[in-house]
């Protein structure tokens, strides 16, 4: 029997949020949980719902990944593992208490016994489910008819183990995301390190082969024109090609190179959103935005300040240079509807782009 669980890989600008919301509002049996990563994502999805319905229907719950973990999975049966209430989550950037073995439950998982470390909550849930004889998954199955999890490409470490547990629980699951946009990781656990970043697709493939999910590609983009879509696809040559549904012509469409002396004039003419790799990337104009922050956003035009490796890639067209930053480059390149311009003074150019002169 084919699995009811689906993974939907959605190209940038493919209307992923819209589809997720429509899917949730379509209803079905019981309550639908719509889980997304950050609180900003939650807000974005709520706004999308309000475009379609005066209120969030009673059978749809929109919650962030960590609320979902804490309220629906970690707390209900924590007594199997831990003697007192889990008051909240303690956020850790790197690895929490790396030298305390898991045998010391209270200090391995918890700060002061009450706040669970953000990088270990999924691990705690997996262990607690085993220890409670599967009570957590039984409850989850009674609780929701359908669970939709957005931004699944960012899942890392034990989050992937937990997802697999949920996939095996018998609830209908839809995982939505785009591994090409895996610019972020929910945690830095050494667990599942081999599936970090865009390699998460390999985990999806393993699940597919185990009969846990089917994988569908949504290859259309409503945002980018074909030239921009091709630029993005260029970073992941082995993935299905994206087809643009944006045929609007503005007179300045596609991919451009702008010399640094022309930047002021270019900004004056086209008012692009300026993007940079990180705060360390050298760029003078006002209001630049980092690639990672731009995820999920749409602009008419962007002007990208490439970091060193990206300059090498522009010169040669060789993907080797941007192998490690491919996801961020993909995100940056696919923000614009009409034009993407790189600030570039090099003489050679290995990509398909036109030089713009003031």
């Amino acid at each position: 029997m084919p699995s009811v669980n689906r993974i939907v890989i959605s190209a940038a600008g493919g209307g992923k949020t819209t589809r997720v919301v429509d899917h949730a509002l379509a209803g079905g049996n019981g309550v639908t949980a719509l889980v997304t990563y950050t609180r900003n994502n939650v807000r974005e999805i709520q706004l999308k719902v309000y475009e379609r319905s005066p209120v969030i229907p009673a059978n749809v719950e929109i919650l962030s990944w960590y609320s979902f973990l804490l309220r629906e999975l970690a707390r209900p049966y924590r007594s199997a593992m831990h003697g007192r209430r889990i008051d909240g989550i303690h956020w850790v950037e790197g690895k929490s208490v790396p030298f305390i073995p898991e045998g010391k439950t209270a200090s391995h998982y918890f700060l002061d016994g009450g706040r669970i470390y953000s990088d270990k909550i999924a691990k705690f849930i997996c262990a607690c489910n085993a220890k409670s004889g599967g009570a957590i998954m039984r409850r989850l199955k009674a609780r929701y008819g359908h669970v939709i999890i957005d931004e699944v490409q960012d899942m890392a470490g034990y989050d992937l183990e937990l997802l697999e547990l949920i996939l095996r629980s018998g609830i209908a699951i839809t995982l939505v995301g785009d591994h090409r946009q895996a610019t972020f990781a929910t945690n830095n656990s050494p667990k599942n390190k081999g599936f970090a970043g865009p390699a998460v697709i390999k985990k999806f493939e393993l699940w597919r082969r185990a009969g846990l999910v089917t994988i569908d590609y949504e290859c259309h983009t409503h945002r980018c024109n074909q030239a921009i879509a091709d630029l993005g696809d260029g970073f992941f040559p082995h993935e299905p090609k994206t087809i643009s549904r944006n045929t609007v012509s503005t007179g300045h469409d596609g991919v451009f190179l702008v010399a640094s002396v022309d930047v002021r004039e270019y900004i004056k003419t086209f008012s692009p959103q300026v993007l940079r790799y990180s705060a360390r990337t050298n760029c003078d104009p006002l209001d630049p935005m980092n690639f990672g922050e731009a995820k999920g956003l749409t602009f008419d035009r962007v002007l990208i300040y490439p970091h060193g490796k990206a300059k090498s890639w522009l010169a040669s067209g060789d993907l080797f240079h941007v192998e490690k930053s491919a996801t961020k480059m993909y995100v940056a390149a696919t923000r614009a509807r009409f034009s993407v311009a790189f600030v570039y003074d090099g003489k050679t150019c290995g990509i398909r782009a036109a030089r713009w002169r003031a």
């Binding site: 309220r71 707390r75 209900p76 209430r85 409850r139 009674a142 609780r143």
Partner: protein
């Protein structure tokens, strides 16, 4: 949806209660002060977060904590001991239902994996230091400083419940005794109607009420007044003055709407009628998730109205869970003995839980009235027949100046075979019970019969060891002598043997004479012990 079990710790008079409820009807009986009403109040509190119609945080006071526990705590402090500060816990264990999965988990004191809600009042750790200061000198302390306590309203998944919508069970508490002032009275009356309206109906009312406010301003007379007021601008204030209805209160049709009964405002209708209307409206609501809590339905109602109301309850209960407390054996009989929970010392016993199933059958078949006399009385005296009953009643009245029932002592005439069955219940309920019995000429046989109870703290077997005075009549004669007996009976027998023969052949008449006479007589010692 229904409540399967209620666990209460340290709430008012309930130091510890663990009560399993019936899915539908629960008739909770028990003596005064046993905590029946407190149990209902606790259930309502855990379902709504409200006490006396207001949020618990506003109503929190030191006497919500069990008095014994608080005293024990302070006394422990006084002798320099260490003890955990008192806390209150109320847990409602709900029957498992997929629609309640949100409330499910095992975060409860019994570690059961079921949906449920709990209310916990405990010392707020962030006030620990203030509290330590407060209790530093225990000799000064009179009451608990509730301002250092917090209230945690959570489901069994360990998540906080933010408002009453977090609990998918609706509830109506029908308890006229909570009405303490005018504001509470009108809120109670509005709630009567409000709880039975659908959300659409409530919205329609709110909308119509707002519209009415708007129309008020359009009235020509109001407009004229406002124009006149507007003309005074500058004289009193630089801003225009006008009159309008208060539209600031949020959606407040509750404040401006009063339910009427035959065009009479419901607040002006008798309390009995108010309660009866509230009960019936609650019964009308179709929600299967509706739990109805009724405190002493018989209050403020005449016998005929009560009869009609109880009939209505039993006919319309449907699948809803109903908890009803009562002192009325009439209510019990009408609603069925099988729904009865005998509530005592924090535990509820069902007749179905009696160990000996023949005892159970016996009591299920008995007319409810007789069975429940034992339950409702503070103390019982079991006697062997109508003659003994009359003698004991009168002897009690002579000694205490009141009939036994007025003191909560019930004299119950029991078929001699049923004694042991009554005693089984009495022990289970912890009821002090005396058995007044003839020795029938064999003390050994009697001791054998009551062997289980001879050393009981609760049950006293009262009999006379003189085997020559086998029954009541010779005992009366021996105690009072021939002259007194003749005086009481209005006879003039010359010999004890002949008066005994007369008494034996006119037992009922003899007892009646003793009951009615003005002549002073004394009960035999074993009866005197029973009426102590």
């Amino acid at each position: 949806m229904f409540i399967q079990r209620v666990v209460v710790e340290n709430y008012r008079c309930l130091k510890r209660a663990n009560v399993t409820l019936n899915e539908r009807l629960n008739v909770i009986v028990g003596s005064n002060e046993c905590g029946k009403s407190t149990l209902l109040e606790a259930v309502h509190l855990a379902l709504t977060g409200q006490l006396n119609g207001r949020p618990l945080i506003v109503e929190l006071h030191p006497y919500l904590f069990n008095h014994d526990l608080t005293r024990t705590y302070f006394e422990a402090l006084k002798v320099g001991g260490r003890a955990a500060p008192p806390s209150i816990l109320i847990e409602l264990y709900l029957a498992d239902d997929p629609a309640l999965a949100k409330l499910k988990g095992d975060n409860n004191s019994l570690r059961l994996d079921v949906p449920g809600v709990s209310t916990l009042v405990e010392l707020n750790p962030s006030h620990a230091e203030d509290f330590a200061q407060y209790v530093a000198d225990p000799s000064e302390i009179r009451t608990l400083p509730v301002e250092y306590f917090w209230i945690k309203w959570r489901d069994f998944a360990d998540n906080e419940i933010i408002n009453v919508r977090g609990v998918p069970l609706q509830t109506s508490l029908i308890d006229a005794s909570t009405i303490k002032n005018n504001a509470a009275a009108s809120r109670y009356v509005v709630d009567i109607v409000k709880e039975s309206l659908t959300s659409k109906e409530k919205v329609d009312l709110a909308l119509s009420y707002r519209l009415m406010k708007d129309r008020f301003l359009e009235q020509p007379k109001v407009k004229t007044i406002n124009d006149a007021l507007a003309a005074k601008k500058g004289g009193i204030s630089d801003k225009a003055i006008s009159v309008s209805l208060d539209t600031s209160s949020r959606a407040n049709w509750e404040a401006g709407i009063m339910p009427h009964l035959d065009d009479i405002p419901l607040t002006l209708v008798g309390k009995g009628e108010q309660n009866s209307v509230k009960i019936k409206l609650a019964m009308e609501t179709s929600a299967r998730s509706h739990i109805i809590l009724i405190e002493e339905a018989e209050n403020h109602l005449s016998y005929a109205s009560l009869n009609e109301l109880i009939g209505h309850i039993s006919a319309n209960a449907g699948p809803r869970q109903i908890l009803i407390t009562t002192h009325s054996s009439f209510v019990l009989n009408k609603l069925g003995v099988e729904s009865v929970l005998l509530f005592q010392r924090g535990e509820a016993i069902r007749l179905t839980e009696l160990k000996d199933s023949s005892t159970q059958d016996y009591f299920m078949k008995l007319p409810g009235h007789d069975t429940l006399r034992l339950i409702l009385a503070t103390r019982s005296i079991l006697v062997e027949g109508p003659s003994d009953e009359l003698i004991v009643q009168r002897a009690y009245e002579k000694k205490h100046g009141r009939m036994p029932l007025e003191n909560g002592v019930d004299v119950i005439s029991v078929n001699s075979l049923a004694f042991k069955r009554f005693l089984e219940i009495a022990v289970m309920l912890g009821k002090t019970t005396d058995v007044v019995t003839d020795n029938d000429g064999s003390v050994a046989a009697l001791q054998k019969k009551y062997a289980d109870y001879l050393s009981s703290d609760l049950v006293s077997i009262q009999y006379d060891p003189d085997e020559s005075a086998k029954t009541l009549e010779p005992q009366l004669l021996r105690k009072n002598g021939l002259a007194v007996i003749n005086a009481v009976l209005g006879t003039s027998f010359a010999h004890e043997a002949s008066v005994l023969a007369h008494m034996a052949s006119h037992k009922a008449e003899t007892a009646l004479r003793f009951f009615e006479t003005d002549v002073d007589w004394s009960p035999p010692d074993y009866i005197a012990r029973a009426i102590r």
